[in-house]
């Protein structure tokens, strides 16, 4: 029924009703509120459907927008560029501009048109649509184009804005031949490694020229590296051929290699492990390497828990706790804020300087200041050359000091704004200024870090002349950098993410060996922080730091992997992130090890404590039982009547019992006055036994299983000899137990009653056998043997402990060996580290 109503309303709204029906409907509408509600509802639905249609369009437009943007960036994240050998590219002769074509949505048809003008005929054309801010593109085939801001000229003027880059490549013989391309330069034949065509257009279809000052950087993967390749320019000749002219030598490019093919371990690390026949997997070796970081902390906790006496264990737990609180303290290391003294009084900003610890011996100072309203400060990345010589990048210098050295250069502490205006590219910060400078401590003592900050602030009216501000901050809690290259830092970049950087090169691999030799984190930082610099520049810088072997490297003049900024910046950010992650992981691993170890210690201690309680209880029970047993004998002896009923089998069967009483009566056991009652006594005999080869066991015990009592008694050895006294009225079974790492060894003596039975050899048994024998002995006794399981439990725990402790000791020796390889500069004596650690703990 409701269907018809909806239908009728819809027909009414669509004006599809006959005049009569319409009148009737309106009549009812006036009378019926429900109908009116339905009508409104349907109107809403109709409008909402219209709205949904518009939203569909909006969403589609949005998707398209993001896709276009993403398309140009996508490659950066995934691209794997392997060997770049030689490039030959040419810029086709300038063609006449074409009529304006503004419609972006007709991009496809524009592309089609442009394709007709492609410089290389019959070769597929790829287009990159670059937004103004896009500077690097990576095609699916691995072609990388770096197109800086001013890479192109339009009518002789630098062009910035969206651009379409048309790209063609012919790298294999088949394509070249199919396309009818020639490889002739004048009269000389060329061997080609590939031909490439590139043109650029505005989105309107206007042809752009390459700015000769900036250029477009192209990297093309090729299969084989050929020496002596040069870059030729192609000129169309009249007969339709291409003549290749104007050869340019290629810049010497670093030899790229996939990260997993490179070796960045300290020299000798793998060799040593191989020698020790250690695991060969990269993962295992990485994790061992990583675990070497802060190894001294682990060492401490191992050493103190390697003894098995109770007090030491307690200490180990204490230690464990203190290491934990150390690390908390470490992470909560207070940042010290000192408002700096500003040298410039009027224009200067009020700078705040903070210290953040980033490692044992490294830290960062964070400089921040509130900018006056409307003012901006230039980023460290601001380049006046790109901004019509305006603006001045913020810089920081330090006074020469033996206490610290700066690592890398000043960085922006927050995202700066990039603005392309009439004055070129301005990179600046608004609101607050924030900069970060890393440094490394060269001393264990607190020191004052003095730096000089130079900057310029501007507003729309103009700029304040560069003020120089002296800033200083007291640094405490750092130790002198000395140990070597932290494994976490090496592993952080040793992964595929860095495959396209100078780090993933054979050249850097070679340098890395020398870097390990310098033991200077700062040297490594220079390479990892300057991914966009040519290698030779960094080499020279390192050699300037006094490391002579790098002078040779610098002379090689190996260039850099010149990906443009967005890329290297991304990687740098990733690098920093990765270091943090790895550190966290290392800490987690270390903590886990500690936890396991302390967990072990704790459970052992628990077992021990339980054992203690049990044995105490057992002893008291034993004593009580013995007293009870002795009682009838005494009663008999005294001739008094006892009213308590006993069931003692074999009781009084031994006449010798009585025989000996006299002696005891004559020798009172206590100083009770003899006058009151004759002292009831029991005859005891000495029992002595020793274990042959007692030294072969970590621990030996003797167990007494009295036949008449449902208890048992453990006797500990003194110098491998057991000496106890046995009640002459009781028959005992004796079990001798020796424990060592490999298991249990036992010997049984049935029904002994005093005397020196001399030396007994033990016989190794399996754990099951041991359990079984003990059960048997236990069964052999009176009706209610005390549970033996608890005792067994403890025994096994004790036994296992030897193994754990010994493994820990051996592990430590192993780690010490490897450690000296990983940290060649570390002082081998571990005590050297402790004062340093102590000083770190102090707030």
């Amino acid at each position: 029924m409701s269907t018809t109503i909806t239908k009728i309303i819809e027909q009414y709204l669509e004006n599809e009703l006959s005049p009569e029906d319409k009148a009737a409907f309106e009549q009812r509408l006036a009378e019926n509120t429900t109908l009116r509600t339905e009508l409104e509802r349907l109107q809403q639905i109709r409008q909402a459907a219209g709205r949904a249609a518009i939203r569909t369009v909006v969403v589609r437009v949005g998707k398209r927008y993001h896709l276009l943007r993403k398309a140009t960036f996508a490659g950066i994240a995934v691209g794997v560029l392997l060997i770049v050998a030689a490039l030959i590219w040419f810029i086709s002769g300038k063609q006449n501009g074409e009529e304006e074509r503004l419609n972006e949505q007709e991009l496809a048809s524009l592309y089609e048109q442009l394709s007709r003008k492609a410089p290389l005929e019959h070769i597929p054309v790829t287009y990159f649509y670059l937004q103004t801010s896009d500077t690097v593109v990576l095609s699916e085939t691995g072609v990388l184009l770096s197109v800086p801001e001013t890479a192109f000229l339009l009518n002789g003027q630098p062009y910035s804005g969206a651009k379409i880059v048309q790209w063609q490549e012919a790298t294999d013989a088949a394509t070249i031949v199919k396309a009818g391309l020639s490889t002739v330069s004048g009269n000389r034949l060329l061997e080609t490694q590939g031909m490439f065509g590139m043109q650029a257009f505005t989105p309107e279809g206007k042809q752009l020229e390459v700015n000769p000052k900036v250029g477009v950087y192209v990297q093309v993967p090729v299969d084989e590296l050929k020496e002596g390749m040069q870059l030729f320019e192609g000129k169309h000749t009249k007969n339709g051929q291409i003549d290749w002219q104007n050869p340019q030598p290629l810049e010497k490019l670093p030899v790229m290699a996939a990260m997993n093919e490179l070796d960045f371990y300290p020299p000798g690390y793998e060799a040593k492990l191989d020698e020790l026949k250690w695991k060969t997997g990269k993962k295992d070796r990485d994790s061992l390497y990583l675990s070497m970081e802060d190894a001294e902390e682990i060492k401490e906790s191992i050493h103190s828990s390697s003894m098995n006496e109770q007090p030491k264990l307690a200490q180990s737990r204490e230690n464990f706790n203190s290491t934990i609180s150390d690390s908390i303290q470490y992470s909560m290391q207070p940042t010290i804020a000192i408002s700096a003294t500003s040298a410039s009084s009027t224009a200067g900003l009020k700078w705040k300087i903070k210290f953040r610890k980033t490692g044992k011996s490294s830290g960062e100072i964070i400089l921040s200041a509130d900018l006056p309203k409307g003012f901006h400060i230039f980023s460290v990345e601001h380049d006046p050359m790109k901004a019509e010589s305006t603006g001045m990048a913020t810089t920081l210098r330090s006074y020469p000091s033996g206490d610290f050295r700066l690592v890398g250069s000043l960085r922006d502490g927050k995202q700066s704004i990039r603005e392309n205006s009439v004055l070129g590219m301005n990179v600046y910060m608004l609101g607050t200024a924030e900069f970060v400078q890393a440094f490394e401590s060269l001393t264990d003592k607190p020191f004052r870090l003095n730096v000089e900050l130079e900057y310029q602030i501007c507003d729309s009216r103009g700029c304040v002349y560069p003020p120089v501000t002296n800033l200083s901050i007291d640094i405490v809690g750092l130790v002198a950098a000395k140990a070597g290259i932290p494994p976490s830092k090496v592993l952080a970049f040793w992964q595929p993410k860095f495959d396209e950087t100078i780090l993933a090169t054979r050249d850097f691999e070679k340098r890395m060996r020398a870097v390990h030799g310098t033991c200077s984190e700062a040297v490594l930082d220079l390479y990892t922080d300057n991914l966009n610099k040519p290698l030779y520049e960094i080499d020279a810088q390192v050699s300037g730091m006094g490391y002579a072997e790098f002078t040779g490297f610098a002379a090689e003049r190996v260039g850099g992997v010149q990906l443009d900024n967005p890329h290297t910046n991304n990687l740098r950010q990733f690098y920093e992130h990765a270091v943090a992650q790895l550190r966290k992981q290392a800490k987690k691993d270390r903590n886990l090890i500690r936890k396991l170890e302390s967990g072990w210690d704790r459970s052992l201690e628990k077992a021990r404590r339980k054992q203690q309680v049990n044995s105490n209880r057992r002893q008291s029970v034993y004593a009580q039982q013995e007293t009870t047993f002795n009682y009838p004998a005494m009663a008999r002896q005294l001739g008094s009547r006892n009213t308590i009923g006993f069931t003692i089998r074999n009781g009084g069967r031994r006449s010798s019992n009585l025989h000996n009483v006299d002696r005891y009566a004559r020798t009172p056991l206590t100083n009770q006055p003899v006058t009151i009652v004759p002292q009831p006594t029991v005859k005891y005999s000495d029992f002595v036994v020793s274990i042959a080869d007692a030294a072969g066991y970590e621990r030996v015990f003797l167990y007494l299983f009295p036949h008449e009592l449902n208890s048992y008694q453990r006797i500990d050895a003194i110098n491998g000899r057991f000496s106890t006294r046995l009640n002459d009225a009781i028959r005992y079974d004796v079990l001798l137990v020796g424990m060592n790492e490999s298991g249990f060894a036992i010997a049984e003596k049935r029904t002994v009653s005093g005397g020196d039975i001399g030396s007994v050899g033990l016989q190794s048994v399996t754990e099951q056998e041991f359990n079984h024998r003990m059960e048997l002995l236990n069964e052999n006794r009176c009706t209610k043997p005390a549970p033996v399981a608890l005792e067994l439990d403890w025994l096994q725990k004790e036994q296992a402990n030897y193994k754990v402790q010994r493994l820990r000791m051996e592990q430590q020796v192993f780690r010490d060996t490897i450690r000296s390889v990983v940290f060649p500069c570390a002082i081998p004596d571990s005590t050297e580290w402790e004062p340093a650690d102590d000083s770190e703990i102090q707030p």
């Binding site: 639905i45 909402a48 219209g50 709205r51 949904a52 518009i54 939203r55 369009v57 909006v58 437009v61």
Partner: protein, 186 residues
Amino acid sequence: MERSLTTQTDLENELRTLYRKWPMMKRFLITIGCSGAAAEDVFQEALVIFARKRTEPEFTLTVEPFFYVKNTCKLLWYNEARKQGRNPVFALEKDVEQQDDEWFRKEQQLRQVETVLKRLGAQCQELLQLFYGLGWSMIDIAKKLGLRNDKVAKVQKYRCLEKARNLVVDQEMGEEIIVESENQMP
């Protein structure tokens, strides 16, 4: 048909132009306290509102479309923030505040109905959108959707409307719950 197609192209062009300002708009929205994740929703809603408004015969733009959208964004976020019980970190300028309050409120109501329509089948959604939104004829819709002829399409339209009506009634019944869950949205 001819007309509506060109209108659609016009609309898309205009929207594309506006969408290029998205990074700027995002920055703006973030500065007034909108989360980055929610920003695009707000922006798209503002575009929807703009697109609807511009078809109204008596509507004349007094400002650049970009500023109209920007103000709408601001207004939308202002309402959203208030709904979430947060104190907006900014005040509305007079001109923004006066932006056709009643009409704006109705738009927000329609947005709810629109959300309800999302629960319809894909074919129903497309049919209703093509018919009411883009003004396609039943013949074209039948072709597009692979229906035998326009009569079948029309019957289908009634069915879809009926389903939509039931969904809306359901939603009205459970209004509170839905409103509440809407509030959860960022």
